[in-house]
């Protein structure tokens, strides 16, 4: 069936409009990041700055201890990622493959924690961290997230799909449980592991809420907080500096998205469908 050209034209126009709605804000961000302060205050706006103001980036970076923020972000994200795998893998394996008293109770507990958002419990956790003396340290940002109910749930499902015969055969060959996990389970669960890693990385690299609540000084602040504070440091109207800082925060994620697009979309959508 041939589509009429009028339909094609409308369709193309619609796609273009949709693209503008979603891409224009990012173009605007990049454009603003290279402007002088004066160029941000023109109306109608200038799209291409006369000279590219690379200084905006250094000014944003130097307006606070950004190297510190950056390292805090890296350390927090990395620790969470590593520790999550260290706790999720054994727990998921036990829930998927062993029968033991109170198993259902502990699994129900995990499922309840899956539904408890940090936005609900930040106040009591804040009070606890404060009484344990780890408020305003990177441990306060790491410890609550060293395991993930969501991760256990997802990985358990994938572990349960491995046929029992495979494990029996391995046990007959005197494989230890650890070898079974490492040589059979993890390779088969690789897509889920990639999903979880991407998911966790993006969530904690971007996180603003938890570091905002749990830090009071620069010692443990992370990159998103630093960027958010640019507005106070530089004054509300220095949009060129704020957008330059913003670009520094967004660019790594967009670059990763560009290269691992398929993986990331599948990760999010797959977990959405489940």
């Amino acid at each position: 069936m041939k589509t009429p050209s009028i339909f094609k034209a409308v369709n193309g126009l619609g796609l273009l409009l949709l693209f503008i709605i979603f891409a224009m804000p990012f173009v605007w961000m990049a454009s603003t990041a290279f402007k002088t302060l004066g160029e941000t205050l023109t109306f109608p706006p200038v799209w291409i700055p006369e000279t590219l103001q690379w200084e905006n980036f250094t000014q944003a970076w130097n307006s606070g201890p950004f190297l510190k923020y950056f390292f805090n972000s890296v350390i927090v994200t990395l620790f969470i990622l590593i520790l999550q795998f260290a706790t999720i893998i054994p727990a998921a394996y036990a829930f998927a493959r062993y029968n033991f008293p109170l198993k259902n109770f502990f699994f129900a507990l995990t499922m309840i924690c899956l539904m408890i958002p940090s936005q609900l419990i930040f106040l009591p956790v804040y009070l606890n961290l404060s009484s344990w003396g780890i408020l305003d340290t990177i441990w306060g940002l790491i410890l609550p997230f060293v395991t993930s109910a969501f991760g256990i749930f997802l990985l358990r499902q994938s572990f349960m799909q491995v046929p029992e015969e495979l494990l029996e055969a391995a046990r007959l060959d005197d494989a230890t449980e650890w070898q079974i996990i490492r040589k059979i389970m993890l390779p088969l669960a690789k897509p889920v592991l990639v999903t979880l890693a991407l998911f966790s990385f993006i969530a904690h690299w971007n996180d603003y809420f938890w570091p905002l609540v749990m830090t009071t000084t620069d010692t443990a602040r992370t990159l998103p907080l630093g960027i958010a504070m640019l507005r106070q440091v530089e004054g509300g109207a220095s949009w060129n500096i704020v957008m330059a800082g913003n670009l520094l925060l967004v660019l790594p994620i967009l670059v990763i998205f560009f290269f691992a697009q398929r993986h990331i979309i599948r990760a999010f959508v797959y977990t959405g469908v489940k």
Partner: protein
């Protein structure tokens, strides 16, 4: 006889030993790191929050005074809190309704093969993986009343500038707009995945029966998509009730309390006014709302929503 008894004793001893053997302890050892974290950072805080909601405490005083349900009665008679509830419900239902209906239409449109369509899918998805800090900053600048891109575009088509974030009439709607912009991509792609999981032969059968397209949509696509629709709605409601970042960064609950919502209200009372018991009571009410949504979710999930 003695031999049998002896062997039975041995068996029993072996059994007893196996009760405490590594194989029996191992599952607990494997789940314990996770369970300890859950108890310390999820279960215990929930209990502590409920405990605090019946007390009066300002964070510095050494004693927590038991006040019964005073915090709750106080909350419910508080005009600010009533506004918070209304704002939260408007924000939640408006953003979920708009996001889901637009996403469904986009999914039906963009569910096609070809480079341009995969590119469009990726483009509309990109805001989903961007930090809410960036999204908030970017949209504050776009919604700037004097030099913002949005008012410029409106002026181009002959509409007066709108004070997006600085007027109590528009601020909540502006935040909903941002939520929709950020959420559409994810919802659309989940819908597309749902559409692609509908067996092709059902459509072929409908085509053979010469079912008109709109009927095919209502009788086939919508029912087959209902689990996805249900999932996205509930997850959307649960997430929107917890909105905080955009509010904190873009409006700080204002102007005149017009964008104050649940989590921001808890944050304000806890961290700015140090009314710990009061904030905890608001937290308990949020807990009840989220629990109801979660229970509905699992109830319906166990019944299954689709017609397969």
């Amino acid at each position: 006889m003695a031999l049998i008894k002896a062997s039975m004793g041995m068996e029993r001893r072996a059994e007893r030993r196996s009760l405490v053997s590594w194989a029996n302890v191992r599952p607990y050892a494997m789940i314990s790191p996770a369970i300890v974290v859950f108890c310390l950072f999820f279960i215990y805080p929930i209990g502590y929050m409920i405990y605090l909601s019946f007390h009066d405490w300002n964070f510095v005083s050494p004693t927590k005074e038991f006040v019964g349900t005073a915090n709750f009665t106080h909350l419910l008679s508080d005009r600010d809190f009533r506004e918070v509830i209304v704002n939260s419900f408007i924000y939640t239902f408006a953003s979920v309704f708009l996001t889901i209906s637009i996403s469904l239409m986009l999914a039906l449109w963009l569910n096609r093969r070809g480079a341009i369509y995969s590119f469009m899918q990726a483009s509309i998805f990109s805001p989903h993986i961007i930090s809410l800090v960036s999204v908030s900053m970017l949209w504050m600048w776009i919604m700037d009343a004097d030099y913002g891109l949005l008012n410029w575009a409106l002026n181009l088509i002959g509409i007066e500038s709108i004070p997006w974030l600085t007027s109590p009439d528009y601020a909540l709607a502006s935040l909903i707009l941002v939520a929709v912009w950020k959420g559409i991509g994810f919802n659309t792609l989940v819908f597309i995945a749902g559409l692609q999981s509908i067996p092709k032969d059902l459509y072929e059968a409908a085509e053979l029966d010469q079912t008109p397209p709109w009927r095919r949509f209502l009788r086939l696509t919508v029912p087959m998509l209902s689990p996805t629709l249900f999932f996205l709605t509930i997850i959307g409601l649960i997430n929107s009730f917890q909105v905080f970042e955009t509010i904190n960064l873009m409006t700080a609950g204002g102007p005149i309390n017009s964008t104050n919502t649940f989590v921001y209200y808890i944050y304000q009372n806890g961290f700015q006014f140090f009314k710990i018991g009061y904030a905890s009571a608001a937290g308990v009410i949020l807990l009840v709302i989220l629990s109801v949504l979660t229970v509905i979710y699992f109830k319906v999930l166990s019944k299954r929503v689709h017609y397969r």
